[in-house]
Structure formats: structure tokens, C-alpha cells
Symmetry: C2
Subunit: 270 residues, 2 copies
């Protein structure tokens, strides 16, 4: 996981990254988002953690080619820094991301009650019994994912929950933990839109593609410890679905919020 | 309202707008967002409606100066067009926005149940009895806002609801309706974060500023008919609050979703 977040610095604000898995047809979107955030973060003073990102997926990436990340220093203010990153391959923009960084401040704090408080993280003994890597379609990911299945859940309910974490220990740099979560948060989020339609992501009846990705990081967390990822899709319309995610740590602290819109097209017969 | 959305085209992709109310200290954020979206939309073929935007507020705007909007044509694909707009004053970027446009397509459709189904829009007879313009602080807005007060609501609950609409008839151009909602959606959204702390936006105890703004437009709507705007703040931490909004039409169709993060600083004694 850490290898994929290590970018070569070609020039100030200009980076190059390679894809983790070159056997897939397209680069995994979460990887481009995470590498873009690494590039942005490396141009910002380290005492300003990232607190949000907003990104658009423009073209599928080719995993056999390096990806170049160009950082625009949009603004450095007294409390906030803003960056924009454009990821390109063969002269074409494949992805753009804006991110904001904020020097730590105190302020009023509240959090909505944790509806999932009955859930508990996977048994420590379990982790050795299952493969550490998750695969979906042709991809394999350096993220452990344990779906949480509510016994009485309506199978048509556009909600899903899982415990997730990096498949190994991570260095302490907080930016790495945020980038790993950016990577992991793109995994399966849109699938929350499928249950109302009796569709499965691997059925071949549906083509899905992430259109955008937005995240807000509310408090520090570790991505190599279990995080509870709750997803829901409030709406699909016009071949687009909206999906929301909330990320809690073991203590029930809301550490990040995610929103993604995706293209959802029926394909095949009928 | 329509006047503020009329921009002067200086060159292809380069526009200039003026502020509606030059007596305020800062330009209203919703106005810059709406004007940016007009600029982006004018560079996209009209058969591709806008379906999302992601923006950062960078610096306060000066209402006495025109604002220049420069559009980058990020990509025109087979189904989607993407644009980025940077708004500047005196050579400094004050706001940046990315937006995506999608040719209409059919696809699987669902919507979460409308929890507010008991609410009904203001009585048609009411509209003549109240001033059409809403004011907050030093600002006045060309938007009618009717707060909905639940009789048994917890005063510390970080949720608020209102009916909103433009204060006059709008032309049929769908982009205008989206821009009016982008304008209106910035009005009071962050105030949903204050009830848990016993704070009021006008009390002088708190300084609030929008940091970003994201919107997804799920289906066509009219902004000169009543829209139900439900806001909530799931979290505040580190002097930043997250607020979410959902916009329904009279029929209970979810027409747009909004997420905004804002700076919330305690000020004054204590």
C-alpha cells in the first residue's frame, strides 16, 4: 500500500506515479485519488493537515503507463492552503482534484449519534484466517474489507456496512492514513445503489463508473486499524446514482464523510 | 435575480459579473457560485444539463468591484462535459468551481422515502402578506424563505427546514433554475451546526464562513416554485462544521443534494 503512495518528484509540484496492478483494464479510481492527494500534500507545509477534497474522474487510466500529477498552488492563506492537481496520461487529463488544508484550531464540537453502535470490529483472531486482500472483478486491493450483514436487513435496502483497514501497518504520517482511506473509500461505495434494482456489481447487467468523489476529514485516525464504513444511496435518477459514506473509528468517532456520484447504466439483453 | 445571473462575455470563456448588493462588506458566496455556474454553462452545449458542482471559497469578494470568471474547458466527452471556473478580483483567485454536464440518459431510478412528507408548502394566499426578500445580517436576498418549525423540536437539534423559492417568475432555461438554487442553497445552511452549542448566527458570538460547496442535481425542477430545503449538521470538529442539505419539490421528489463545510469560530469574550 505504501509503495503506491510513493511518487517520484520530477520538479517542484510535478510528480509521477505508477499503478499497483498493471494487469487490470483500467486504473482503480481510488488509486488516482490517493496519489493526487499525496502530490497535493507534498506541496503544503506539514503542520496543515488535509480536511477536504473534491475530485472528478475524466477518463479511464491506463495501468501500464505512469501517471503524471501536476499541482497548482491555488492559495496559501493564514489558516488554509488550497491545491489543485491534474492527473494526465499521454497529454490528456484523466482526473482532477482540489483539496484544502487547515492549521489545527479549536472550536465547537458535536456529532450525530452513532446509529451503528451495536456493531463491533472483527475479532482479532479472525484476521489470520482470511486472505488479507480483497478482490472485486479483475482488481485486487491492499485493503481488508469485512462486510457487516444485518440478519434481518431488507435485500432491496440501498445501504451497506463494512469494516475496513489497510492490510498492513502504516507509517505515522497522518497524510498516509488519509490517502489510504481515500483509496479504500472508492471500493464498492456505488454498489449501495444496486439493491433496490436487484442488480449485483458482478452480474454483467450493469456498468458502473465513478464520476466524482468528495471527502471531508473531521478528526485524525489510523487507516491500519479497523474503520466502520457505512454507505447508502439516497437516490438514483437519469443513469446516475448518489452514494454517501460515513467512516467511524472503533470508538464511534465520525472521522470522515464521503459523497460520490456514479454512472449506473443497464447493459446486456433487456 | 435574473440580472445577477447575466454576465458580460469579454472573450470566449471569459466573463465579467457585478454584485447585486454593493452595500455589504463581502460578496455573498451563493452569488459567486451562481455566477461561476452561469459562466461554465455558457461554454457547454445546451443539450447537456449540469448535474454536479464542487467549489472552494478562497477569499472574500469585494462587492464594489466586478468579478472576472475564467472558464477552463477541462473535457468534452461523448456523454459528459467538465468545466473549471476561477473567479478573480485584482489578480487574486477568490473562488474556484468545477462542474459536470451530462446528456440526458435513462437508467435505474430510486429515491429514499421523503421523511418530511407531512410538510406542505406555504398557503398561496400567504405570499402577498410578507416581504418577498429575505435579509440576514447586512444582506438582502432575492429569495423567499419560510422556515418550517416543528412544534416539538429539540432546540439543540442540528437540523432545520424551510420552504424556499425565487422572489419572482424565472425564464424557462433550466440552467437559470439550477443557478438560482445554487445561490439559495448557501443561505443559512451552516446555521444548522449552531443549535447544539446554543449559538445563533447573529449573536456576535460566532464567526462563520463557507469553505466549500458541493451540489448534485438529480432531476429538473423550477426554482420559482416552492422547494423544501432540509438541512442537518452531522458533525463539527476542529473549528469546522459539515452541513448537508436535501432539496425536494412540492411532490416530494428529491431534486438536489448539497454538502458544505464551513469555518465556525467562537469570537468575543470567553
Amino acid at each position: 500500500m505504501v509503495g503506491v503512495l510513493t511518487l517520484e518528484e520530477i520538479e517542484s509540484g510535478l510528480f509521477r506515479g505508477i499503478s499497483r496492478d498493471v494487469t487490470t483494464i483500467r486504473v482503480f479510481g481510488g488509486q488516482v485519488a490517493a496519489q493526487s492527494l499525496v502530490a497535493a500534500g507534498r506541496t503544503v507545509r506539514p503542520d496543515r493537515p488535509v480536511h477536504s477534497l473534491h475530485a472528478y474522474f475524466l477518463l479511464p487510466g491506463d495501468p501500464a503507463q505512469p501517471i503524471v500529477y501536476q499541482v497548482e498552488r491555488t492559495r496559501d492563506g493564514r489558516s488554509f492552503s488550497t491545491r489543485r492537481v491534474v492527473a494526465t496520461q499521454r497529454g490528456q487529463a484523466i482526473f482532477s482534484l482540489s483539496a484544502s488544508f487547515h492549521r489545527p484550531e479549536e472550536g465547537p464540537a458535536h456529532q450525530a449519534p452513532w446509529a451503528q453502535s451495536a456493531a463491533s470490529p472483527p475479532d482479532p483472531g479472525e484476521s489470520g484466517d482470511e486472505p488479507g486482500r480483497t478482490s472485486a472483478g479483475n482488481h485486487s486491493f491492499p485493503i481488508e474489507v469485512r462486510p457487516v450483514r444485518a440478519p434481518l436487513a431488507d435485500p432491496a435496502d440501498p445501504r451497506q456496512q463494512s469494516w475496513i483497514r489497510a492490510d498492513g501497518a502504516l507509517p505515522d504520517d497522518p497524510l498516509i492514513h488519509v490517502c489510504v482511506l481515500a483509496y479504500a473509500s472508492d471500493l464498492g461505495l456505488l454498489a449501495a445503489a444496486l439493491p433496490p434494482h436487484g442488480l449485483s456489481p458482478l452480474s454483467g447487467e450493469v456498468m458502473m463508473a465513478s464520476l466524482d468523489h468528495a471527502m471531508w476529514f473531521h478528526q485524525p485516525f489510523r487507516a491500519d486499524d479497523w474503520l466502520y464504513y457505512a454507505n447508502e444511496s439516497p437516490i438514483a435518477s437519469g443513469a446516475r446514482a448518489l452514494a454517501r459514506g460515513e467512516v467511524y473509528d472503533r470508538a464511534g468517532r465520525l472521522v470522515a464523510s464521503v459523497v460520490q456520484e456514479g454512472l449506473v447504466r443497464r447493459v446486456g439483453p433487456g
